[in-house]
Structure formats: structure tokens, C-alpha cells
């Protein structure tokens, strides 16, 4: 006996009524690619998520379907996840600016006090 469904396409498949609990024989662990989209020309490409694909060409096709199906997109990049070198959140402190390194921040340069003092001195003369 096969499954009788409300969907004639399902009925035509002659699916067994007894549930099959066997695992899939071959797991296709494809490479993952990270996808970057550009919303309009001139913008930066922004990371939107991954796709599974056997090669870069398929990755682009799937990325278009997955991430550019709706809403504007003018350009897509894909890059192998494995090729991305990244920092660790554990090392977040490497991005912190040291107090003694204020010479490389805009806020490290305060001239108004000197200008005002200079102006005041020269006004009196």
C-alpha cells in the first residue's frame, strides 16, 4: 500500500506507508561559501550569510537565489569560508586604543585653548 495524499503529485509517487528511518547513505558535505552583496553601485559589499556549494559558480547561482531573490542587489561576491582568516572575540582588546596613543586620534589634538589665549594676548596689545 502506498500513501494516498490530497496532493495528486504525492499520490503518484507511490510512497511507502511504512516509515523508513534509515539514514541518508551519503552525506554531501559541500563546502560553504560566504556571500557578500552590494545594494547599489558605489556601496561597500556587505556580508549576508553563507551558501553550501560544490564550486564557486554554483555558489554564485545559489547566492543569487538565496540572498538576491527579493530587494535590490547589483553585485554579488562569494568566497570560500575556509579562506577567511579572522580574529577571535577573545582577543577583542587588541582593538582598544591606549590612553598614551591619543596622538593618533582626532580627539588627541586640542588647540582652541592656545588659540583663545593667543587671541586674548594680542587683543590687549
Amino acid at each position: 500500500m502506498s500513501i494516498k495524499s490530497l496532493d495528486p503529485r504525492v499520490t503518484r509517487e507511490n510512497l511507502p506507508e511504512q516509515p523508513n528511518t534509515e539514514s541518508i547513505k551519503d552525506l554531501h558535505q559541500w563546502q560553504t561559501y560566504e556571500v557578500f552583496h552590494q545594494v547599489k553601485k558605489g556601496d561597500h559589499h556587505i556580508h549576508v550569510g553563507p551558501v553550501h556549494a560544490p564550486n564557486p559558480d554554483m555558489a554564485l547561482i545559489l547566492a543569487k537565489e538565496q540572498y538576491a531573490r527579493r530587494y535590490k542587489c547589483v553585485n554579488l561576491w562569494v568566497v570560500k569560508t575556509a579562506d577567511i582568516k579572522k580574529t577571535d572575540y577573545e582577543d577583542e582588546d587588541i582593538f582598544e586604543t591606549n590612553q598614551e596613543k591619543m596622538y593618533r586620534e582626532a580627539g588627541g589634538y586640542k588647540v582652541m585653548e592656545r588659540i583663545n589665549k593667543f587671541k586674548a594676548e594680542h587683543k590687549n596689545k
Binding site: 495524499s5 490530497l6 541518508i24 554531501h28 559541500w30 553563507p50 538565496q66
Partner: protein, 328 residues
């Protein structure tokens, strides 16, 4: 957008003994401060496990959820409706891909999740074990089940796990047309001929119990989820979400002159909450454990799709390609 009524396991003391107390403290402080947790960061084993379970269930619900509605693609009334339904079904499958990717970042490969679905090991939203008997059922699903899912997903998108939140944001963006589409279909039938009204009324009667089941068991009987709430894995209690849904949609259903098959359903003026007949949670449990009207069919269809696609995957397979967990 179909997630809702996730089945959680009871958490023991919130964390396992292996977890480092200091790291756990930092982790909880981050979450309390509203920060997101990213895949490579330290997290309690229990957090990882429950998240995989929840996101995976959500992904499966999208895949299986496409099937009841898909039943009517070939017999949709009119070309425009057929195109719209196909677009909606495609969206749901796309959402599953986004969610599988989010779950993968926690360390369980996509193929393993698909395998667990097909072999009946993983759960998915219970409502999809019921059949869509007529076209009107697809209208009720697209309107009210999607509405329920939206309430759940909007809450979850404010959760603590970065990749899941980002996936949900994209899902919510793409989703905007589903609810409108479903509402349009229900309104069209409800304001149509007597036969059309009858169809949509009957579909509502069929779908009301699954809709009430959708948010999961009542807080009175469901497992304790305080830790999951503190970790912002679960964002609202089942009963709170159910109340919110009733608040938003019961008036809209009544506007159309449709009858909801629950004589007890009314807003309690004193408590400000909805009174309703307690859903049949024994049936809920029975169906989720495999004994629903369509469980076998759903899994068999999914398995057949997997088998039919195998030659394509084999043809594309490159033996040198190695799987890496995505960054999401």
C-alpha cells in the same frame, strides 16, 4: 515563516558542571547588557544544545511547512494566485536554508540536520502534520499560521544569538507579503459566494485547534524555561504569545463574520486576557510524537525529494572540496 511552539528539554541548573563559572558569569553579563553572542565565542554547553535544537526545529518547520500549502499549487484558482503561492513556498524553503546555516554555526552540519528530519529524530512545528483539505485551508494557513509565526519570530529576533537574529531579520523582511497574501485570500473567500464563505468557515474550524496548539503547551504544563528566558533563547512564554495572537487576530476574524469554533472564547474584561477552552494537549503530544494525520506523508515526501536530488548532488560533487562550518 513558520517557527513556533518549540519543544525544549528541561535545563538542569542552567549549566553543566564542566562550564567555567567565571566564563558563565561573563556570558550572562553580556546577555543582560543586550550584547549578541557570536559563533566563536564561549557559551555554555546547554545554551549551544538548546539553540541548535530550536533553530533546527524552526528550519525543519519551514521545509515541512511548505508542503500543506504546496498541495494546492497545481490547482490554485487562477494564474496570479498560483504564481503568488509558488513565490511564498519558495520563500519558506529559502528561510529554511538561512536557518540551517544559523544552526550550523553552532557545530551541527546541515546534512546531519536534514538526516535527523528524514529519519524522524528531529521535530518540527506540529501544525504541519494536518492536511490542507481545500484551497481555503491554504488561505487560513497563509494568514493565521504565518501571523502566529510572525509574533514568535519578531520576539525571537531580539534574542541573544547573533546568527539566528540576523537570519530572522532577513526572514521578516522577505515575509511582509505572506501575511497580506493570506489575508487577501481569506477576505476574498469570506466576502464571496455562499459556497466560498462556507469553504473558508470550514477551513477555519479545521485549523483553529492547530492554531491554538501553535505556540506550544500552556505555561502551566510546559517545562521550566527560566534559564532559557534569562539567556534570551526563548523570548516570551507560550501563553503570552498566544494572548498576543488572540488580541491581534480574533477581532479581524470576527470582522469578516466568521465563527471561531470555541464558545468560551472571549476577552475577560477584568484580567484583560482572553478566556478560551484549553486546547487538547494530549492530542498535541500524540501528533508531535508521530501519530498525526500527515506525519508519515510529510517525512516520506521529504525523503523522496532527497532521493530524487541525489544524482544532481553526485554530479556536482568535487572530492577535493572540504566542508567548513560557515561563519554566518
Amino acid at each position: 515563516m513558520y517557527g513556533g511552539g518549540y519543544i525544549f528539554e528541561e535545563t538542569k541548573n542552567g549549566h553543566s558542571e564542566k562550564d567555567d563559572e567565571k566564563k558563565l558569569e561573563q556570558f550572562e553579563a553580556k546577555i543582560a547588557a543586550g550584547e549578541k553572542i557570536e559563533p566563536s565565542e564561549w557559551m555554555p554547553a546547554e545554551y549551544r544544545k538548546q539553540l541548535i535544537r530550536m533553530i533546527e526545529q524552526h528550519a525543519h518547520s519551514e521545509i515541512i511547512g511548505a508542503l500543506p500549502e504546496g498541495t494546492w499549487i497545481t490547482r490554485a484558482p487562477g494564474f496570479r494566485r498560483k504564481l503568488a503561492l509558488m513565490a511564498k513556498v519558495q520563500d519558506e524553503v529559502g528561510h529554511a536554508q538561512l536557518l540551517y546555516s544559523a544552526a550550523e554555526t553552532l557545530g551541527k552540519p546541515r546534512e546531519e540536520m536534514i538526516n535527523d528530519l528524514i529519519t524522524g529524530k528531529s521535530k518540527y512545528s506540529n501544525v504541519f502534520n494536518y492536511p490542507a483539505k481545500t484551497w481555503a485551508d491554504t488561505a487560513v494557513i497563509a494568514w493565521l499560521i504565518d501571523a502566529g509565526a510572525i509574533i514568535n519570530q519578531v520576539a525571537n529576533s531580539k534574542g541573544s544569538y547573533g546568527p539566528y537574529c540576523r537570519a530572522l531579520e532577513r526572514i521578516c523582511l522577505e515575509e511582509s507579503f505572506h501575511l497580506k497574501y493570506g489575508h487577501d485570500n481569506v477576505v476574498f473567500l469570506a466576502t464571496g459566494t455562499p459556497k466560498q464563505r462556507e469553504m473558508v468557515q470550514e477551513a477555519l474550524i479545521r485549523w483553529w485547534p492547530p492554531i491554538m496548539h501553535f505556540f506550544g503547551p500552556s505555561d502551566k504544563i510546559s517545562v521550566h524555561t527560566e534559564t532559557l528566558m534569562r539567556w534570551k533563547v526563548k523570548m516570551a512564554s507560550n501563553d503570552d504569545m498566544r494572548q498576543k495572537f488572540l488580541d491581534m487576530y480574533v477581532p479581524k476574524i470576527w470582522d469578516l463574520g466568521l465563527t471561531i469554533p470555541d464558545p468560551k472564547l472571549k476577552k475577560n474584561e477584568e484580567t484583560g486576557k482572553w478566556d478560551y477552552t484549553e486546547p487538547d494537549w494530549d492530542e498535541f503530544k500524540r501528533v508531535i510524537n508521530g501519530d498525526g494525520p500527515c506525519n508519515k506523508e510529510r517525512l516520506a515526501v521529504r525523503r523522496r525529494a532527497e532521493e530524487k536530488g541525489e544524482w544532481v548532488r553526485n554530479a556536482l560533487q568535487r572530492p577535493t572540496e572540504k566542508y567548513t562550518i560557515p561563519l554566518a
